[in-house]
Subunit: 270 residues, 3 copies
């Protein structure tokens, strides 16, 4: 392992609460050299989809062998499993509730193990705070170089959430949803250029979007290409198409929310 | 001292403001190897009780010799003292305004010193920002290994806030208050199992709670045991009893706020 | 360079979003030993003045050779330049949109270079996320010790925003504005003691303020000198005069916002 291993930390704990801090204390007690990088602790409470979107958008920016700790865990204390998932380059520690589903969809998952080796836990395990007593310690031991096989048996039936499906409407239209509204009011859709190519078999040229009832006709490479009253689409940095407005919250202008129906329409090139 | 000393940092500075960042800059100028772990900077402004609850809930998760910097300081610039408090395993740096009262209540405090050695301060000391100019530097020097005795004389009359008292109502009822509402809407009470045992002389069996006028009859070990319409109590990870609802904010359902009257009732076991 | 270089990070990305986390991942991939210190990610979206105020208030607390990464970048993807600015002790990496204007106003700027050496970028560069693909990597390479001259040619015509001007009204009055409202509701004005001396040619003695239509007659050294119903001025830790109220949000009491007109009046000493 690296001399300076990295653990990223994504949760719905809230930056106001002591929860994330307590988890970090436990991690540092086990792995004093680890660097803990917060992705977000302000994921909406119990919102597995938002946590999934957050981690899938961030993890690829980190160096190989980073351990990604992801905790949105409404089933804490119940029989839901705790898991470690590995891809070729990254490790993920999370409850087995589907919060890693977007990672599974994007990556060749090498292996998932069920966390069962209790001697790696903090004792006693509080039934309401597995992040502190199970997930955090396991992430710390992984960062110290303990192999994932040491934590429990491989499992195949890990939970995959039904992610918002893309639906082919005809040979030039695909239906998706709004996946996320960001702090700027940008509307991140569930539709990506890769998926358009896969589903419709061709590269998009002239693109329109339908967001709810509103048609968005302009498509740009970056925000500042737009004029000030315009709503437009662009390819966002997370890989998905976004709908934006110059220095304004497009989500409010379009009355869009997470889950709002979105349609991409490939117009004949002009 | 450790090669990689840890300073935790709890304040009411707000994560939007530059204040916490400036304090960290000063700390790193003195102790380049220290790791600074934020607990929260979103404690309500001047709220000593919330700061006290936050730090008492978090510090025990950190390794021995961690320095805990706690700043909610409405009296900054006045004659209120600055102090270092030590327990067997931890050090605390804070204004002497009672913000450490919950630590004092839980721990055998070994010693408290008044911070007076001005050569450890950042000069000039701004009368409105002792966190940057006094508390931060002192925490950094402690983390570097300077003994607490070097900062000033021991004091006995440090400020203890009157913490929300628990009141024995009869041989099966204790009255307390709501100590904190967390981001999930969980209602953390000021009543703990230890205190019930101490005050009523017996282990709780069947437990009811009264929160304001509402009676809460179910008691579980973890959230997911509840059905979706149920309000229930459980023993929270901070050591206190909590009132919760499955994926819903119990505080809103019960119209509970910090300070709302709470009663625990030990019903005869069935 | 230091063995443990420091990068501070100020942005309008929002602490809820994955954006800041992704930037940190890229930085750590390039400079594994760097310490990244968040100043704020909750600057109002596209608010160059708030970002400027935040960074100018924080950077001076950090050790020499700190790299300050500042991203509020409504023109991302357009032809606006990316720059590195150096003062005698600090380095700044930012879009050339004026976000460093308050640093320029305070410091002897040694040199500004235009960032053009694309081999230091993360590839491909997303036109909507230069923080991750350009600014972050450049900050990381600077922290590793690459000289700023390696990134591009020196430029003279970097963008300076017209900062809120101070206007001399007569020989005892200066007009400014509200620069910032902080989390406590303190009203930070654009007027500093240094500027009063420079503009009026004398040290302020008895000071009144006019905030909008409200006259503020008390002036204290620190908050706790005030009585509980009083609104008063003091010299804040950022160097500017502030208007405050004891444990209350002065901004709300005065109906003050960012940009509200403020006047300082030097009354004859009594």
């Amino acid at each position: 392992m690296s001399e300076r291993p990295i653990i990223t930390f994504t949760s719905d704990f809230g930056s106001r609460e002591y929860y994330a801090g307590a988890v970090k204390g436990v991690i540092l007690g086990i792995a004093p050299n680890v660097r803990i990088i917060d992705i977000s602790h302000d994921v909406a409470s119990h919102d597995l989809l938002e946590a999934a979107f957050t981690v899938v958008s961030a993890y690829g920016s980190f160096p190989p062998r980073t351990v990604h700790l992801v905790v949105a865990d409404p089933g804490v204390g119940s029989e839901r499993r705790a898991i470690i998932a590995s891809t070729e380059e990254h490790l993920f520690v999370a409850p087995d509730n589907g919060v890693l589903s977007m990672v599974y969809a994007r990556e060749q998952i090498s292996r998932v193990v069920s966390i069962e080796a209790e001697h790696y836990f903090r004792r006693p395990v509080a039934p309401t705070f597995h992040a502190r007593d199970i997930f955090g310690p396991v992430a710390a031991w992984l960062a110290r170089g303990i192999g994932m096989d040491q934590f429990g048996p491989e499992v195949e039936n890990y939970v995959r959430l039904a992610l918002p499906p893309l639906r082919r409407l005809d040979d030039r239209r695909i239906e998706g949803i709004v996946l996320h509204i960001d702090k700027f009011g940008n509307v991140i859709t569930s539709i990506s250029p890769d998926e358009v190519l896969r589903i419709l078999g061709r590269e998009p040229q002239t693109i329109h979007f339908l967001v709810g009832e509103e048609r968005v006709k302009a498509h740009y490479r970056y925000y500042a290409q737009a004029s000030s009253e315009e709503i437009f689409s662009l390819q966002g940095s997370s890989g998905y198409y976004e709908i934006a407005a110059l220095k304004k919250p497009a989500a409010r202008l379009l009355n869009a929310r997470r889950g709002t129906r979105v349609e991409i329409i490939l117009e004949p090139s002009i």
